[in-house]
Amino acid sequence: MSCNSAVASFVNGQAVPGLRAEAGTEVMSYRDALHWTMRDALQRHDSVVIMGQGVDDHKGIFGSTTGLAKEFGTDRVMDTPLAEEGMTGVAIGAALNGLYPIQTHIRADFSLLAMNQIINLAAKYKYMFGGRFDVPMLIRLIVGRSWGQGAQHSQSLQSLFAHIPGLQVVMPSSSQTILDTYPAVIDRYRGPVISLEHRLMYDLEFYVYPISIKQEIDPFGSRLVRQGEAITIVATSIMVLEALRAAEHLARLADIQCEVIDLHCVSGPDWDLVMRSVEKTGRLVVADTSWREYGVCAEVCRIVAERNPGCLKTPVVTLGMQPAPCPTAKCLEDLFYPDLRQLVDVLATAVTGKQGHGVPLPDTQSMADVYKRFKGPF
């Protein structure tokens, strides 16, 4: 657990008032943090190879691998055929024989073609053979959102992977969490890790600690990113930023102090951290980037229900995507995803115990409009 190591402080180049920016002193975008960790891995480990469709092209996986093929060679930053299962199997075989593959899927949805290799093989290779093999590899999945990404370019599949023993699943919510997680995983962890990066965050800039300051942070830990007494928000990925924005709004206008936990590692969260917070506040909202059914929302509820249901003063509220495939029309898409107004409303209702809580709600503005810089096809 770390406190305040990863807090959104810049959005669209504008400092967001109230967000705590004292965590670090330098500014780095999510994209640049990814690029830095990719380059760092290639520099420090001869065994690292980056494999994925388009990793060596001029767009370089939204800028996270740009220029690396030129610097390190196309045998280390390797464009691949359109063969998700085969390439995942190739990565597993390479990992079994001494390489550290970093595989990219420019849309998380494409990893579904590799599910056999990820679930039947990578996740099981260590256990099934009695610990005689390690499969050290990192699979980067990018979750798309907004501008008509639609049903097959937008899925946030963390619960599918986190359901399977043997996989570590992380969801970086800031530049600092990338810097804390990727190098540590690549240096020290010997199993398969799946990271779900959020496309909307690529352009965001965050305060980070200077790179030269090495921090010993558990790459699979959860993070307490804001302290408060009134209610606990457990969030993942970009919903951590929404939770922080909601918390600032409530603090400023209603003197309601929310505690925010970035679950970060959804395959093995720090449940003690979650329980300590819920036991302190007695109230819980879970905000995930995916569907609520059988997912992170459901899992957080399971843990609280099993460990200490009596600590809750009010029913748990969960926020996630509506139970449908993602639509493309903006008016529908805006309804499909939870927004800041909704989050503030459920928090105020839970804390005050009243539907008509009287707390002013923020203007309706879709998250995509707030965070998005990119326009048009990719």
Partner: protein
């Protein structure tokens, strides 16, 4: 008959595998081996011939029907029986059973129960060998049914594209569970493989120990020096049912005659005198392996959650 030293060595290895599996059949009704067994009986010459000139550092990735490859590559017999009996001394600490045998110290890199799923692993291991400058040869073993899977195509393409030192070894017994090849494939395996632009070999006499070994010796030598992929199809015959210890000729999906024809060619059926001379030593080794397995403890409770991540 060729009783050269080479033949005798190969024959010993093949007979050892056959006698091990025949012992499994004997033991099966006792229910001590609680694992689905896919027996290699009839296919031993393939494993023995392929592995003969492989080094310990060369890697083999296999299928669920891999008792033969595990033993031919040098996996411990005692650890194999212990694994079948679900013991902590098994090659996978009692977590693999028959279908996931492995012995990484001798290059037996594991077997998967999902058809075709280890083919890309062989390609990836060859990619690592190339990148790290190792002189390894990697063999991906699969059956004829695996050639119907998409990942087979993906693997061939990548290996050829990147010129990787891998042998695609199709162990063709003509059956996928109970379905004959002609009911499943609208293509010819060799013609299809040839289209990828890699050298293609065919061995029709998968029972012929020396022929398989000599041909494979040349092929492995070629891959070791050229560092480029090859495809090999070896015809063979599965004597037993798809899974389990029995025969299933009465079920009607294949004829007993083809089995009898194959057995006419099979030295492990024909060389009765030779079998008689070497059988006792092998049986002694098997007895010792079984004693080791049966006298070993079961995995303790803490093994349940060990090695998950």
């Amino acid at each position: 008959m060729d009783y050269s030293q080479k033949f005798c060595d190969l024959f010993f290895q093949a007979l050892r595998i056959r006698l091990v599996e025949e012992r499994i059949i004997e033991l099966y009704p006792s229910d001590g081996i609680q694992s689905p067994v896919h027996l290699s009986i009839g296919q031993e010459a393939v494993a023995v011939g392929v592995c003969r000139d492989l080094r310990k550092t060369d890697l083999v990735f296999c299928t669920y029907r891999s008792h033969a490859f595990y033993l031919a590559k040098g996996g411990s017999l005692a650890e194999m029986f212990a694994e079948l009996y679900g013991k902590i001394t098994g090659c996978a600490r009692g977590k693999a059973g028959s279908m996931h045998l492995a012995a990484p110290d001798v290059g037996m890199m594991g077997a998967s129960a999902v058809v075709a799923s280890t083919i890309p692993h062989a390609v990836g291991a060859a990619l690592a060998a190339k990148r790290l400058g190792h002189d390894q040869v990697v063999v991906g073993v699969f059956g004829d049914g695996a050639t119907e899977e998409g990942v087979y195509h993906e693997s061939l393409n990548f290996a050829v594209l990147h010129r990787l030192p891998v042998v695609f070894l199709c162990e063709n017994n003509g059956l996928a569970v109970h379905s004959p090849q002609k009911a499943r494939q609208g293509y010819d395996i060799l013609d299809h493989a040839r289209a990828y632009g890699l050298p293609v070999y065919h061995i029709a006499e998968g029972y012929d120990l020396v022929k398989v070994a000599d041909t494979m010796s040349d092929i492995i030598q070629r891959v070791r020096s050229t560092r480029e992929p090859v495809f090999v199809e070896i015809r063979t015959y599965r004597y037993k049912e798809h899974v389990g210890p029995g025969e299933d000729f009465v079920s009607g999906y294949r004829s007993k005659e083809e089995w009898l024809d194959w057995k006419q060619q099979d030295p492990l059926e024909q060389q009765v005198a030779l079998i008689k001379t070497i059988r006792p030593a092998i049986l002694k080794e098997i007895d010792e392996a079984i004693y080791f397995a049966m006298s070993s403890p079961f995995p303790p409770v803490e093994e349940l959650l060990r090695d998950v991540v």
